[in-house]
């Protein structure tokens, strides 16, 4: 299975600020894009998960910024699975500038699995199996 997923992104003007780099909150949008595509790639399109009553809200997030991403940079967001709990999962992101392979930022998100009523629930076996099979040793 896919232990690491890579998403290519181009930095848009809308993402930059007057310091000439990407505004710090936009990295969290990229993390979302990356994990959604990762989930799709492993057969768990998130839209369908929601339709089936499974939601993965973020309960904790962090990002360490090393080098500012700039307008028009071509980036790779590499996503890996971190800890998998009974009803939570962590994802780890590396934002890489494609041109020179430099790591610009490293981040993480932790998600709870909840149902439509907002109650925390355990991962169904099908989902849990997919996550475990994608986790690098």
């Amino acid at each position: 299975m896919i232990t690491e997923h890579s998403l290519e992104l181009r930095v848009s003007y809308a993402e930059t600020d007057q310091m000439g780099i990407v505004y710090y909150s936009h990295y969290f949008n990229w993390f979302e894009k990356a994990r959604i595509e990762y989930l799709r790639a492993v057969g768990l399109p998130y839209k369908k998960m929601e339709e089936e009553g499974y939601y993965l809200p973020v309960v904790k997030t962090n990002c360490t910024y090393r080098i500012g991403a700039q307008f028009d940079d071509l980036l790779l967001v590499k996503t890996k699975i971190g800890d998998i709990g009974k009803s939570s999962i962590s994802l780890i992101y590396n934002v890489i500038r494609k041109e020179d392979n430099k790591i610009l930022a490293i981040g993480g998100t932790r998600h709870a699995l909840i149902n439509r009523e907002g109650k925390i629930i355990k991962f169904p076996e099908k989902i849990s199996n997919i996550f475990h099979s994608c986790k690098a040793d």
């Binding site: 310091m19 780099i21 710090y24 909150s25 936009h26 969290f28 949008n29 979302e32 939601y55 809200p57 973020v58 309960v59 904790k60 997030t61 962090n62 990002c63 360490t64 910024y65 090393r66 500012g68 998100t109």
Partner: protein
């Protein structure tokens, strides 16, 4: 000025289809919180940049306890954390005003740099007022 409180009303633009505020938007609130803390301390960030002092975020975290929803009146309590040789931490707590429920806590770490992106020591006058 080690603590500051800023009131904000949640706008539609802040929300997502789960009916809550999108997780990345809390970081824009943190920015408003720290900018207003600095202003209240007599340190207008715009003027700081003019004086060649920049405070980019080098690390940011947020823990979400309960969700902020559209039209909620919230307040951001910002505190100055540790001040290092050339870095500063800000800590944030976001409360729903109505019932004082804590919605999220967060932290940002900033480097002090000049326009050449060189790390500089925290200026004494900034240390003094914070």
């Amino acid at each position: 000025m080690s603590e500051h409180s800023l009131e904000i009303r949640v706008s539609y633009a802040d929300t997502d289809q789960m009916g809550v505020v999108y997780y990345g938007n809390y970081f824009t609130w943190f920015e408003r919180g720290r900018t207003e803390l600095l202003r209240a301390a007599g340190l207008n960030y715009k003027d700081m940049e003019k004086k060649n002092i920049f405070l980019p975020v080098v690390e940011a975290t947020c823990s979400y306890k309960a969700s902020a929803c559209y039209d909620d009146l919230i307040f951001i309590r910002t505190k100055v954390g540790k001040i290092g040789r050339s870095s500063i931490y800000f800590n944030y707590e976001i409360f729903r005003k109505e019932d004082r429920q804590l919605l999220a806590t967060g932290e940002t770490r900033h480097a002090f740099i000049n326009s050449d992106k060189k790390v500089i020591p925290v200026p004494e006058e900034i240390k003094t007022v914070l």
